[in-house]
């Protein structure tokens, strides 16, 4: 009886994680694509030197970060993948969203400064532990770079 209850709770959490998680992810991707279109004019490059034409610009460090949590469904799928092996597509989509969101926030900060481009962009990704310590709780992605603001 008790084990039946445990299975029931597990399936409920799994269903909630799947349903709400998929909706949140789809919504987030839509907003990411809209943001990328909106901020497309702020160039993001990993070049270390300012491109010709921007050599007189004022450099200014900008960053954007985001913390996204996993849902229960992703955790279970990752657990199964750990037994079978292969790409964990659940986490891949999570990290893809987080990276693109972080870049958007960095671009937004650059746009607020009036910059035209962000160069020498780097990522920092880290894991924020969940309640059980070893379980994934959330993932933080930081995108930082040097924004080049056109001289007045």
């Amino acid at each position: 009886m008790e084990s039946l209850l445990q299975i029931g709770v597990f399936l409920l959490l799994l269903g909630a994680g799947y349903f709400f998680g998929r909706r949140a992810e789809a919504r987030h991707y839509r907003s990411i694509r809209a943001g990328e279109d909106r901020l497309r004019h702020i160039l993001v490059l990993t070049d270390r030197l300012p491109p010709p034409g921007m050599l007189q610009d004022r450099p200014c460090m900008v960053n954007g970060n985001v913390v996204i949590s996993v849902d229960f469904f992703k955790t279970i799928v990752a657990g199964l993948r750990n037994l079978v092996g292969g790409n964990i597509s659940a986490y891949e989509s999570l990290l893809d969203r987080a990276r693109r969101e972080a870049i958007l926030r960095m671009q937004q900060e650059a746009a607020d400064l009036g910059a035209r481009a962000v160069i020498n962009m780097k990522f920092e990704t880290s894991r924020i532990s969940g309640s059980a310590g070893s379980a994934v709780g959330a993932v933080e992605v930081l995108a930082y770079g040097t924004a080049l603001v056109a001289p007045r």
Binding site: L45, N82, V84, N87, I88, Y91, E92, F123, T125, S134
Partner: protein, 137 residues
């Protein structure tokens, strides 16, 4: 030659790279040049195209896990994990090249790698750089 637990046998230093087998990043294999320098010698950058990234999150499987637990007692190189991470890195670079090819680039400069532990047993390998169109001088 005796192999003690914890040692790395000499001919196993580079199990995945034999002489004559160039790495997957070599341009003659895929037509796309990957480099982490700013200016490629003997070439001229025609056009910057933008940021491209490739990433994978790979999990080990139960077999590798058990071997690793055993190695935790004896020490030594975890060859299966080394191969796993190398495969992941190659896959990440491949995805980055795919993005670059999709926007019409033929080289990616200022490439950076980033590895992070996402969960116990799952690592994310990220490769990102600036896609450019180059031509030889």
């Amino acid at each position: 030659m005796t192999i003690l637990p914890g040692s790395i046998p000499p001919d196993r230093h580079f199990p995945y790279r034999q002489p004559g087998n160039r790495s997957i990043s070599a341009p003659e294999k895929t037509g796309m040049l990957i480099t982490n320098i700013e200016v490629i010698p003997n070439t001229r950058v025609l056009k910057h195209l933008g940021l491209v990234q490739g990433s994978t999150v790979r999990a080990k499987h139960a077999g590798r896990d058990i071997m690793a637990s055993i190695k935790n007692i004896f020490g030594g190189e975890l060859v299966s994990y080394t191969e796993l991470l190398q495969e992941s890195r190659e896959e990440a670079v491949k995805r980055m090249k795919e993005q670059a090819a999709a926007i019409g680039a033929n080289a990616v400069i200022n490439v950076r790698f980033s590895t992070s532990a996402i969960a116990a047993g799952a690592s994310e390998i990220l490769a990102y750089g600036t896609a450019v169109l180059v031509e030889e001088h």
